[in-house]
């Protein structure tokens, strides 16, 4: 089950905590990857660690022209087809809404939501031709529940859910599924910076009693990318240790 041999995938934010776990998970199931990230050196190191014939494509997701070029670059590097797109890259610029600067709002919406739209728009073309595609966007539990200090981030993540549902309806007849995975709190650079007191308060809200791991998210992505998940579309798979049940 869930064998991805022969499939190609583009993963954004692949050198980050969750992104690298997703890339490793897809590669372990046999997919050939184009890994993307903003830091070319870090990305290249990650690609080298992955081994195999994966390719690294550095891209600044806040640059619209660079984003529009990313899918064509990936298709070319992956031998002319793209089966799976994983919109994983995300940034935070936390602030109380009343203090939030325009650029804090813009930057988060641009990278987390607009780039995802641009990438899906571009990826839909080769996927429609191939009559096969899997689009998986990494959203967040806070897109569903909200979180103080994260109006921009929560809006961008909720936006991904709506975007995915609309696209799922547009593309279902072409055997292209569009889904989201919503992590709860996962051990990553993003959660490492939380103050200790906030971390323990957080754990109190998680029935599983622990933060999640990147591998937990990767497993959900592998499932949604697989041929076996072909009848699942427009859904959000919540992977959060039970902290929000929706």
């Amino acid at each position: 089950m869930f064998d991805l041999t022969g499939m190609t995938a583009l993963v954004t934010g692949a050198s980050g905590g969750i992104g690298s776990a997703i890339a490793e998970g897809l590669a372990a199931q046999g997919a050939r990857l184009a890994v993307s990230g903003s830091n070319a050196d870090k990305l290249e190191r990650f690609r080298a660690e992955l081994g195999g014939d994966h390719v690294a494509l550095a891209c600044d997701l806040s640059d619209a022209a660079a984003v529009d070029a990313l899918v064509p670059r990936a298709v070319e590097a992956l031998g002319g087809k793209l089966d799976v797109l994983v919109n994983n890259a995300g940034v935070t610029r936390d602030n109380l809404a009343m203090r939030m600067k325009d650029d804090e709002w813009d930057q988060v919406i641009r990278v987390n939501l607009e780039a995802a739209f641009r990438l899906v728009r571009a990826a839909a073309k080769p996927m429609m031709k191939a009559r096969f595609g899997r689009v998986i966007s990494i959203t967040s539990v806070v897109g569903q529940t909200g979180n103080p200090g994260q109006a921009n981030y929560a809006a961008s993540k909720a936006g991904l859910v709506g975007l995915s549902k609309a696209l799922a309806q547009e593309l279902a007849s072409r055997n292209i599924t569009v889904n989201c995975v919503a992590p709860g709190f996962i051990r990553s650079a993003m959660t490492d910076v939380l103050p200790e007191a906030q971390k323990s308060a957080l754990l109190g809200r998680i029935p599983a009693g622990d933060l999640g791991r990147g591998e937990d998210i990767a497993a959900a992505v592998v499932y949604l990318a697989s041929r076996e998940a072909g009848y699942v579309t427009g859904q959000t798979l919540h992977v959060n240790g039970g902290m929000a049940m929706v």
């Binding site: 073309k125 429609m128 031709k129 547009e170 593309l171 007849s173 072409r174």
Partner: protein, 78 residues
Amino acid sequence: MSETADRVKKIVVEHLGVEADKVTEDASFIDDLGADSLDIVELVMAFEEEFGVEIPDDAAEKISTVKDAITYIDEHKG
């Protein structure tokens, strides 16, 4: 019948799975040939590939019949 018309009709037959004799020049993709909006997008992509032309979105929106497609391609192919 022009060479362009033949190739356009062949693409339409293949993509929409309709009988060749239904693909007249006056046939509307949506009203007569059962295409939906996604089919139109795919047809435009196929025309672009077949003829090496670029059909921008505002032009694509005006292509509603087989004849519209043939005319646009004849005017723009290299």
